[in-house]
């Protein structure tokens, strides 16, 4: 994973609440065996309508997406995070995220930043004309107009993102503890093991 310390750029003022994973990327696109190329299918049903924010030349190359409550609800498809990444999005700012989506975003170095609705309203305004900056060190979102909103993230996630750490490597370093758990279960709860049918 590449380290993410700062994201700076224009933002799509999308604003919609309850954006579900089927809207981010529909099932037809899930047949791929690769992580690449899903940007083309991102927000297909939204982009089918004229005047949508994603095809507005004003926001060409935007790296931030601003949305409403409960972003990424629905399916567990990581394709949603891959599609956003592939369309050039580095961070999503919303009042809240579904649990699975925020985890999927994190695993792909995509920032899922939760800010209160008032901050979202202000950022939606700024996004129409100016860029937004997200700084992972100070955990803040700033604008050229001196707005400054701080956000929270668990320190483990913050560290992984800033250092681009591979989570599997981190866990494998704990293989002794994993083995100890397995031995404990094997001796005390033999029923745990599935019977080989």
């Amino acid at each position: 994973m590449n380290p993410v310390r700062k994201v700076e750029g224009r933002a799509f003022p999308f604003g919609q609440k309850n954006v579900d994973t089927d809207v981010i990327i529909s099932a037809e696109w899930l047949k791929t065996i690769s992580r690449e190329g899903l940007g083309e299918g991102a927000f297909e049903s939204v982009r089918a309508k004229d005047g949508n924010v994603f095809d507005d030349p004003e926001y060409a190359g935007a790296s931030v997406l601003i949305a409403g409550d409960n972003f990424g609800c629905g399916s567990s498809r990581e394709h949603a995070a891959w599609a956003l990444d592939d369309m050039g999005i580095k961070a999503i700012i919303a009042p809240s995220f579904s649990d699975i989506f925020s985890s999927n975003a994190f695993k792909n170095g995509l920032l899922a930043i939760a800010l209160p609705q008032e901050a979202i309203d202000r950022l939606m305004e700024v996004a129409k004309t100016d860029p937004i900056t997200i700084d992972m060190e100070s955990m803040s979102v700033t604008t050229p107009f001196q707005d400054r909103f701080t956000f929270e993230m668990d320190p483990f996630r913050q560290q992984c993102l800033m250092d681009g750490l591979d989570e599997i490597d981190l866990t494998m370093a704990k293989s002794d503890a994993i083995e100890a758990h397995e031995n404990r279960v094997d001796s005390a709860q033999a029923w745990h093991k599935p019977v080989a049918a």
Binding site: N18, L30, K31, R77, A177, P194, A196
Partner: protein, 478 residues
């Protein structure tokens, strides 16, 4: 005296491998179900890094999402090729990856094949008190047996394959307490749709729900699976129902369930799992079962529910501006007008199936309504897709397939089918579907498809009348 604990806390505590100071923990995963859609990139990741699957014996793979539900073998017993090259490649990838990594694989034409969430319980792979994951959000279903089960993304699939653990933060606990019992003709699907209508699609975010109350004690395991399955539609990653004698009776003798002395030890342990008296939940929601009528959706979110006896709501009836806006968009997409009686909405398609409602009891409930009746003229497409080969065989032994076929339904092979529009079973644009699945999102059943979620008996009733119908009128319940 030790602190009173919830079922969730007991399972969590028994699976902590390593506790971090920041409150997150490395949690051991006892069971991992793998399907074709969310696994290819995970296996690819393992290959690139030269990693193995840590516990292939705790992993079970089966294709379901992509698989066409038409015959898998031709008359000569040869495999029928899959027309869509991308689907074919994805299915082949799983068929090759599973044995390459030593994982048991149930193939497309095997008798046990089916939807991951149907075969887990059916094979006795899902057990109370275990942690179970799958790269699919409806993994919440397995909580019906008292397993802590939740959907994960592909990176997490890879993490579990490599380490048999996940780095997680503890969820909050939410009690959904249902007072009283369901009225005649009201099903577990009506109950869970009603619950989602009450809590909303983000109501359970960050929480694990435990469903409590006499209604769940009386409910069959199939019904509990339907309820827990849709926990994710209420935003909760997992649902739980305390294991009891019904759970043990359901599991006993299943192929992968413990046997002999191990069975007895297991049951003794499982009996210690239910939430202790005095244990505290972070949040409690109380639902009155008597309030629940047969429930259907009118919009494009599973929280958009209304009794079938009700009317399409007016956008202005919602308190906040953004919900009003969402309701307008939903009505536009669904081609509905405020004030229209739900019972006047005509449907052209009927889908009975999905991990929510494709088990034997679901098929029995639908067949009971359809027996001696025909699908209405306006119904162009009606299919029944059993959740597994074993469900299909059971239904055939009971003669249910004959009832479905006589009434005008197609009787299909097991799979996810028209729940999600990624295999050939799709609802045409602009048409409506009375569907027993779990999501009515825009385009979920195919581009432009209009989904109304409901129970199997209600879908059967809609098939007979050609419009959304209160099934109680057809089965002599009032």
């Amino acid at each position: 005296m030790t602190k009173a604990k919830t079922l969730y806390e007991k399972i969590w505590d028994a699976h902590v491998v390593d506790q971090r100071a920041d409150g997150t923990a490395l949690i051991y995963i006892d069971r991992h179900l793998v399907h074709e859609v969310t696994s290819p990139q995970a296996f690819e990741g393992l290959r690139k890094a030269g990693r193995k699957v840590r516990r292939p014996d705790l992993t079970l793979a089966v294709p379901d999402h992509n698989l066409p539900t038409t015959a898998r073998l031709d008359a000569a017993g040869n495999k029928v090729p899959i027309a869509d090259p991308q689907s074919a490649a994805q299915l082949e990838a799983l068929e090759a990856n599973a044995p390459a990594f030593g994982i048991k694989y149930i193939g497309a034409s095997d008798a046990e094949q089916g939807i991951v969430h149907v075969i887990g319980p059916e094979q006795g792979f899902t057990l109370p008190g275990t942690t179970l994951v799958c790269g699919d959000s409806h993994t919440a279903a397995h909580g019906a047996l008292g397993a802590l089960a939740f959907g994960i993304g592909t990176s997490e699939v890879e993490h579990v394959l490599a380490t048999q653990t996940l780095q997680l933060s503890r969820s909050k606990s939410m009690e959904i307490r249902v007072e009283g019992l369901l009225g005649p003709g009201i099903s577990p699907k009506d109950l869970i749709l009603h619950i989602i209508g009450v809590i909303g699609t983000a109501g359970g975010t960050g929480h694990v729900i435990e469903y409590r109350g006499e209604v769940f004690e009386q409910m069959s395991i199939e019904g509990r699976l339907t309820v827990s399955n849709m926990s994710i539609e209420g935003g909760a990653r997992a649902g739980l129902i305390a294991p009891d004698d019904k759970t043990f009776a359901y599991l006993k003798g299943r192929p992968m369930a413990p046997r002999g002395a191990d069975w007895d030890t297991a049951v003794a342990y499982w009996k210690t799992l239910p939430t202790d008296d005095g244990a505290e939940f972070d949040k409690t929601i109380t639902i009155n079962a008597a309030d629940i009528a047969p429930t259907v959706t009118w919009g494009t979110s599973p929280e958009d529910v209304v009794p079938v006896t009700g009317h399409v709501p007016a956008p202005e009836s919602f308190p906040d501006a953004s919900k009003q806006d969402a309701a307008r968009k939903s009505l536009d997409y669904m081609g509905l007008t405020s004030g229209q009686a739900m019972g006047d909405i005509a449907v052209e398609n009927i889908f009975i199936g999905s991990c929510t409602n494709s088990r034997i009891e679901d098929l029995r409930a639908a067949a009971k309504v359809l027996e001696g009746r025909k699908t209405a003229d306006g119904v162009k497409w009606a299919i029944v897709v059993p959740g597994s080969g074993l469900v299909k065989a059971q239904a055939e032994a009971e003669g249910l397939d004959a009832i479905f076929k006589a009434s005008g339904f197609e009787w299909r092979e097991p799979g996810c089918s028209a729940c999600l529009g990624m295999n050939p079973d799709k609802v045409p644009p602009g048409e409506r579907c009375a569907s027993t699945s779990n999501r009515n999102f825009v385009g979920r059943q195919g581009p432009g498809a209009r989904t109304h979620l409901m129970s199997p008996a209600m879908a059967a009733a809609a098939a007979v009348t050609g419009k959304l119908t209160d099934v109680r009128e057809l089965i002599g319940v009032n």
